[in-house]
């Protein structure tokens, strides 16, 4: 389980998160939603151990999230994070050498699924295929927690669809928990168990997606707009 206990994060004088307390149940796909600059990425980076809270604690399975938490957490950055002079195959090799939990077989299967050419240089890949490659190397890790920062942003509908299908095919919800930040609410909604809504570093609500539909008769987009306007 992931727990945030009264976590505050400041960047110099700017408060990114203000006394946030959250819990994520295992076996769920959770969406972190909110406007740009609301604190979604900061939350993921804190859980991935890439940032330290100014105050409060972040626990992953009871362990304080520091840089070494990457044994348990796979983090997909919204930026391109690989060597552009590598080929697709070399990138996968690199990840395999870096992470002990990397499942090569699964990676190969996903490369086929995503129709990626193993011999192509990363530098020569389209943005869509770079997005797909990021998904491959992230999901091929057998870790209990997968964090994805904006996996769909700026990609065309076919790529988005293949990423969503890839996610469902290659995630094992009996053993894994997924946290996704996104603005593509309509597409991601059917994929989510729960959503966490953030505004200006404060959690507005955490709710089951189906419950929003049953009790409030709203789609995720409408719900977010309503909550933001309150």
């Amino acid at each position: 389980m992931i727990q945030l206990e009264e976590v505050t994060k400041r960047y110099l004088t700017k408060k990114a998160l203000q006394t946030v307390s959250l819990q994520f149940e295992p076996g769920h796909i959770v969406g972190l939603i909110g406007s740009n600059g609301s604190g979604k990425s900061t939350t993921l980076k804190l859980i991935a151990g890439l940032l330290r809270p100014t105050s409060g604690t972040v626990l992953v399975d009871g362990e304080v999230a520091c840089r070494r938490i990457c044994r348990k957490v796979a983090y997909l950055s919204e930026l391109d994070a690989y060597y552009s002079f590598f080929t697709v195959k070399q990138t996968v090799d690199f990840y395999e050498q870096t992470f002990a939990d990397f499942n090569r077989e699964k990676a190969e299967e996903m490369l086929d699924f995503m129709k990626l050419d193993r011999t192509q240089k990363v530098r020569h890949l389209s943005k869509g295929n770079r997005g797909r490659l990021k998904i491959v190397v992230t999901l091929a890790r057998e870790v209990p927690y997968i964090l994805m920062d904006e996996p769909l942003s700026g990609l065309d509908p076919m790529v988005r669809s293949s990423i969503i299908k890839g996610l469902i095919s290659f995630i094992d919800l009996e053993k894994q928990t997924v946290l996704i930040t996104t603005h593509e609410l309509q597409e991601i909604e059917p994929l989510l168990d729960t959503v966490v809504l953030i505004r200006n570093g404060v959690i507005l609500d955490q709710k089951s997606v189906e419950e929003i539909r049953v009790s409030e008769n709203l789609s995720l987009v409408d719900w977010m707009v309503e909550k933001y306007e309150q």
Binding site: H28, I168, E187, P190, L191, E210, S219, V221, D222
Partner: protein
């Protein structure tokens, strides 16, 4: 790309409806095996937990049966399927009538309209 969902109805209910309609249309036959949870999740781009919930719902109403280690199957009981078919008919009629009432049509207008429509449709066939 997957067929989109209606935004104000729970997705598991919409999945149930889609499966029921497939059975009624004969795309899924009596005793036939349903796709695995994961396959249906991938095909419709939804959370596997949601598919699980839809299957559980259908299982509770007896429309499908889970066989240990083999998967989920459409029931062999014709009575249950007949009842489901009847239920779907009533649901669609209720929806139609409610909408028409809201627009202020009378019962007679609805019946006439329906008869007219069906006759014209037959001519076309």
């Amino acid at each position: 790309m997957a067929q989109p969902f209606n935004p104000s109805v729970p997705i598991y209910q919409q999945l149930c409806e889609r499966i029921k309609n497939k059975i009624i249309r004969g795309e899924l036959k009596i005793g036939e095996r349903l796709p695995s949870v994961r396959d249906l999740a991938i095909e419709s781009e939804v959370n596997p937990n949601t598919v699980q919930r839809a299957y559980r719902e259908l299982e509770e109403s007896g429309i499908v049966e889970k066989k240990r280690g083999q998967g989920t199957f459409v029931t062999q009981e014709p009575d249950i399927l007949q009842h489901m078919r009847e239920q779907q008919k009533i649901n669609h009629i209720r929806f139609f009538v409610t909408e028409m009432c809201e627009m202020g049509f009378s019962e007679a207008e609805m019946l006439d309209g329906l008869r007219d429509y069906l006759e014209k449709k037959e001519d076309n066939v």
